[in-house]
């Protein structure tokens, strides 16, 4: 019973409920929100944030952070254009870009785990470095002539209906990451690392190696998203996805993952991403500027940590009062 109540009161269930509420209200209250066409756009809009948020959740659960993801996306997008201009085939370019992403992630991972540098500072550094290299590769130009069957696949839907092709990719990756985090020993070890890295080390978890590979995966996924982003807008540009890292971190924290590590769930994160994307989409349909939505995003982000804190302190003071009353009797 108390387990059920604890579950219901936890932030991830609140955020999931809130997301369902927003989706239902918007479907009935906002004209055109519930249409198939809008669903397609909604999925395409949340694709980059959601995919990058999956490995980001893992990294934040272990108590680290990766702010360089959007720049990795930009650099792979630039390289994709550069490779294409140099006559490589698209079938070769796509795995190559994912590989480049993995290498960029490995560099982060080496600096954080090999040299023991703070991940916040390291990834702020590589945020600037990778974005800078993206501009070095492609300047402020754009490459746009990618083959239409690939760009068409990314923006297209299954059988011409409302379900976009990329949803298959989203569902598959979300399932894999979800199962790994919540149903494998490896997933449990991530929580252990985040809760207390030293204790995890003493219980036989290879802390440094695990973190290193998380950065590699994060880079590879960012590289994949760089490819998808380029194909979706049919434009390889050095500034693609700039600023996306803040939206991803905001969505992950909004989903109830603790910035200190050791706490969080993937369903919560998915709800956080969907909530932000749906709010943005619904407000845009009502002609509210997307920038004004920033206020809501920021407030939700702060509240996602503030409210549980307040709840905890209220509960603690109740507990103290009850103890005092018991002592008085």
């Amino acid at each position: 019973m108390s387990e059920v109540r604890r579950r219901l009161a936890s932030w991830d269930s609140i955020i999931i409920l809130l997301t369902v509420l927003v989706l239902v209200t918007a479907s009935f209250g906002v004209p055109n929100f519930g249409t198939g066409r809008n669903f397609t756009f909604l999925v395409l809009d949340l694709l980059p944030i959601l995919l990058v948020a999956l490995p980001m959740t893992f990294i934040i659960v272990t108590g680290e952070i990766d702010l360089s993801v959007a720049s990795t996306l930009g650099l792979t997008s630039s390289l994709m254009g550069w490779f294409w201009n140099n006559g490589l085939s698209i079938e070769l370019i796509i795995p190559l870009c994912v590989l480049v992403g993995a290498v960029l992630g490995a560099f982060n991972g080496f600096l954080v785990t090999g040299l023991g540098l703070p991940s916040l500072a390291v990834t702020i550094g590589t945020l600037a470095l990778y974005r800078g290299l993206a501009f070095v590769v492609l300047g402020d130009g754009a490459v746009a002539d990618f083959p239409w069957n690939y760009t068409g696949w990314v923006t297209g839907t299954i059988g011409g209906g409302a379900v976009p092709n990329v949803l298959i990719l989203i569902v598959a990756l979300a399932l894999i990451f979800g199962v790994v985090l919540h149903a494998t020993p490896f997933g449990r070890s991530l929580f252990a690392i985040g809760a207390n890295a030293q204790a995890a080390h003493f219980s036989g978890i290879r802390v440094a190696r695990t973190k290193f590979w998380l950065y590699v995966v994060s880079g590879a996924v960012a590289g994949l998203v760089g490819v998808l982003w380029t194909l979706r807008y049919s434009s390889a540009r050095a500034d693609n996805g700039s600023g996306l890292e803040l939206a991803v971190v905001a969505a992950v924290l909004l989903g109830g993952v603790s910035i200190f590590g050791g706490r969080g769930s993937l369903p919560g994160v998915l709800a956080g991403v969907v909530l932000l994307a749906a709010l943005q989409n619904a407000l845009r349909l009502q002609d509210v500027s997307g920038q004004a939505l920033n206020i809501v995003t920021g407030a939700l982000l702060v509240l996602s940590v503030l409210l549980p804190n307040i709840a905890t302190s209220i509960r603690a003071s109740w507990h103290r009062r009850r103890l005092r009353q018991a002592a008085a009797h």
């Binding site: 600096l111 916040l120 702020i124 974005r131 800078g132 300047g139 910035i259 407030a299 940590v305 804190n309």
Partner: protein, 339 residues
């Protein structure tokens, strides 16, 4: 007694020597860069070029001083770019509506806007027990969103602003532009307070070990609020300097500045773990970043390299900090083992 004196004199020297190498490194890098650039193109050291570099540094250095104070307490303030935008737009709107207001009112208004924003950050961090990274990421969005919904796509143009406001950016006394003078006073003043005054030392203590500082009787809450208010107020001040220098202000003013500010602070030798580094080091960091930008233009190197170099410098700076920290730890351990 001589031995006691010798050890007493030796310890501070070796420790401060280690710290000094950090700022010395920046000065050397700066000097090398200036010499190389000036040799290949003497125009780099002309009055106009130096003036431009200093003017460009001023805004960044003012914000870096505030950021350094926050980072020294083991926190971070990512909202400074948005605070700059909010303050710049507030002041520009105010001055275009009331052209008769003197400059000092504009500066005070900007400081006030920034201080309130900083207070919000500080209260949420300290009393809401929300990590600074989360709070200031949230307020980065919120302050920017407020500016956007207020501005609604409009901008304040230079021709709507009073003449004395715009002249402020170019006016100078004894050949030193006001903007540069303000930056020097801010960086120097804050450095002095952090180095020599009780409140400054308490901020360092908080950054070294927050629980120990609390146990030592330091009023952590008051000091932390103060640090965030200073950072906010200085970002606000940077806003009025921005408005005066560029004349045209829209809701996107200062977008993404937080990255440059944090870069200047980290390159300037303020460790993100808190408790070490100096404010004038951060000021030097701001100068170095700006000089790199100008040097690339003068040396005719592809300007797109600038951001990549900034990134590489940040990484280099953290590695250097790590090296110094490891060396200090090793020397401390050695000394302990002798006792």
């Amino acid at each position: 007694m001589t031995a006691a004196l010798a050890t007493k004199a030796k310890r501070p020297v070796s420790l401060s020597g280690l710290v000094k190498t950090r700022e010395l490194g920046i000065i050397l890098a700066l000097a090398a860069l200036v010499v190389v650039t000036a040799v290949s193109n003497p125009r780099f050291l002309s009055g106009q070029s130096v003036r431009d570099i200093l003017l460009n540094t001023a805004i960044l250095a003012v914000m870096a001083a505030g950021q350094a104070v926050v980072v020294i307490t083991r926190n971070i303030d990512l909202s400074v770019g948005s605070v700059l935008g909010l303050s710049a737009f507030t002041v520009a709107t105010m001055m275009s509506a009331n052209p008769g207001l003197p400059m000092i009112v504009a500066i005070l208004a900007a400081l006030a806007v920034g201080a309130v924003a900083g207070l919000v950050n500080g209260v949420l961090v300290r009393f809401g027990r929300v990590p600074a990274l989360v709070v200031t990421l949230g307020t980065l969005y919120m302050f920017r969103g407020i500016t956007y919904s207020w501005a609604g796509g409009q901008q304040v143009n230079a021709d709507e602003l009073p003449r004395h406001f715009l002249q402020f950016a170019n006016a100078s006394i004894l050949g030193v532009p006001w903007l540069v003078l303000i930056a020097v006073v801010v960086v120097g003043g804050v450095s002095l307070i952090m180095r020599n005054y009780r409140v400054g030392r308490e901020l360092y203590a908080i950054g070294s070990s927050p629980p120990a500082a609390e146990l030592a009787g330091i009023r952590v809450a008051r000091n932390l609020l103060g640090a965030f208010i200073v950072s906010g107020a200085l970002a606000g001040l940077a806003g009025v300097l921005f408005a005066a220098r560029f004349g045209t202000v829209d809701a996107a003013a200062g977008n993404g500045y937080e990255l440059n500010v944090v870069a200047a602070v980290v390159v300037g030798g303020v460790a993100v773990f808190g408790g070490s580094g100096t404010v004038w080091g951060a000021g030097l960091g701001a100068l170095l970043l700006t000089v790199i930008g100008s040097a690339l233009a003068v040396l005719d190197i592809n300007q797109f390299w600038q951001q990549a170099i900034v990134g590489a410098l940040i990484l280099l700076a953290i590695c250097a900090d790590r090296l110094v920290a490891v060396r200090i730890a090793r020397s401390l351990r050695k000394r302990d083992s002798h006792v």
